[in-house]
Symmetry: C3
Subunit: 277 residues, 3 copies
């Protein structure tokens, strides 16, 4: 049975997501529809790119991923369908796919050209759903678009490394539900530059010299529980997606606060790693 996932900035309240699901079920009876996220910040292509990159690979090969972010068709914003890692992605050509494509070469990209039949201001419903159902029925990408070879890039995707490789200058690309801040520095990239050297990570006036494996590695379990003061302490981990993340142990915006709120760290802020000889 085909799987179609949905990632949008439509929010949880409006009728858009419901209407899309209804349209899919009207075309296909046997299909699984899975919500990845509808809470992307409006028009935020970077957030969408981070979320889809980290969600898609858990799904079975052949899954179809509809991404409805900034998808209004115009002279500069074409619609594309991409086959990559044996998954299908349908979205606007606005940078969303560049984070994934930077890691894994796409198998095929087409620019969708079924719009001459469709005059719409709800393209996810009227265009993306049709393309998704076409693929779910076993249709090929060439039928719904013309092959292209390049997609629009996203800015600031790759951290900067200085000439003598003593410094990585990264930036914050995502803030998660716990207020943890996630940088564009991936574990593999970090280790390639690090080459075993010791280091110091700086974000505003906060400094860290250890990267933990788990959040609770900050806790000394030999101290009795009622005497510990770990909740609310800052730490750095490589998160489950292997990105360098600045976190607060057991963060909660409503109580102890979060890395973002306590350290004043925002999207696009700089995070620097200095390596020592």
């Amino acid at each position: 049975m085909a799987i179609i996932t949905l990632t949008t900035d439509f929010g949880e309240k409006d009728h858009f997501v419901g209407a899309i699901k209804g349209a899919i079920y009207t075309e296909l009876e046997d299909v699984k529809i899975v919500d990845i996220s509808h809470a992307i910040s409006p028009f935020n292509v970077s957030e969408a790119a981070y979320i889809i990159q980290n969600a898609y690979a858990s799904f079975p090969k052949g899954s179809i991923h509809v991404i409805g972010i900034d998808s209004e068709l115009n002279a500069e914003n074409k619609h594309i369908a991409v086959k990559l890692d044996d998954h299908y992605f349908i979205c606007a050509n606005n940078g969303i796919m560049s984070m994934i494509c930077n890691e894994i070469a796409p198998q095929k990209i087409v620019e969708i050209n079924i719009h001459d039949k469709l005059d719409t201001n709800f393209p996810v419903l009227d265009v993306f759903v049709r393309v998704a159902c076409h693929i779910a029925r076993g249709g090929t990408l060439e039928v719904i678009g013309k092959v292209i070879t390049h997609i629009k890039p996203i800015k600031n995707l790759i951290p900067f490394v200085n000439d003598d490789q003593s410094q990585i200058i990264g930036s914050i690309i995502y803030i998660d539900n716990y207020g943890n801040v996630i940088t564009n520095i991936r574990k593999k990239f970090f280790e390639q530059i690090q080459k075993g050297r010791s280091f110091e990570i700086s974000a505003r006036n906060y400094k860290f010299k250890i990267i933990y494996k788990r959040y609770s590695d900050i806790v000394n379990f030999e101290i009795p529980e009622e005497q510990r003061q770990d909740e609310g302490r800052g730490l750095v981990v490589f998160n489950s997606s292997n990105y360098l993340e600045i976190a607060i142990y057991k963060s909660d915006l409503a109580t102890v606060g979060s890395a973002s709120s306590l350290m004043g760290l925002q999207m696009r802020d700089t995070v620097t790693v200095n390596f020592f000889k």
Copy 2:
């Protein structure tokens, strides 16, 4: 396979929606349950009416729509099941159905009368789910209620037109996830009054003389991208549901702001259209 949709003001946190889904799966193994929205403002019948009207028609004929808004049974708030456009709707008789019924005549309305067996303060779980499963199994409406011919109306549904048809006085009936404000002026109604005349739309001290087809029609793509200043500009469109909508190009409450926040437009505020000879 039957489709049951859910539209409620239960929110995303509490156990209510999960419990309802569990109850449906306990009665029916082969059913698709689809969330339309659980983020309706509490007890807000107008919002629910707008959302269900714009979502239901995408679903296959025969779909069953459970609407859990202000559904506690009392002397003035009876439960109804409505067949309309070959869809089924189950809700309280509190105005929710009047927006749809105003466009399309219902095929049948029954006042649900299975409550004598059920003493409950969770009627969506204990009453609506049973009615939905009864319909899903092919049962008729007459078995679970007595036929009635009128439903409770909703106020301020239809905009006012003055005697010489030079003015439409509409109102804001919904504010969407992007903060765009949606009026009760539908495209067909607008064009019937307009008869090709030029016009000016007023909302507070904001005036608009053009209704765009797409949000990005406001952009002049001949100007280089880095010199454009369109993000945050106000515009008017007929939205994908064909309602007159005042929008901000690429609105985001957290950054550029929205039509609602920037222009100070709220639910029930007046939007006027003046036509010129």
Copy 3:
């Protein structure tokens, strides 16, 4: 077909929930995945315990409930799988199960021990999903863990009763989507202590002498609707889960306010019942 439910504090935005669903569908084609809640306050074990207790019983026997709250494995936070009331629960041994287990004796508890093969900082994806799919395929608990007999308790679960049984001192354990505040005083417990006596319920400086059956029982329907002033009035009910709840009639945080906001009632605040001779 197996049913797997999900209750987490992952929120609606991040990729975590989507990734989990993808992983389940990769292991099992024929399964229903149902979201109970992803909006638990971060690390809030009491909220999760309340929600899972009130949602699970609506599902068919044999359903598998994955609870992803504070689930990082460490010396003090082991993973368990519990069979209770012919349902399966997979979670950390951090108190979540103690609210349910306090009502119904578990049929079996195992401490999960498949971690030696898995080094992970996303245990819900890497451990809980595997255990859930193992159970869905008919596997036994003994294969994935060793039997234990005790689970970690949660604090302040049971209200305090004074020696002469003239007073119950309860506390607020949950605040729902309407801002209604829910205490740890259950109807059956209340009636056992009450023994038919009259009573007064106190929360801060608010007093109540009646427990209604339904929210709208506060309304006098003989007064014409436009003269009534019931919206925004406080009242006490046993809610649909049979917990004592302080509510506001037709509460809405954005308009009339809620019990929590208007009366200043917060999680863990005390609610007292005094009985009279």
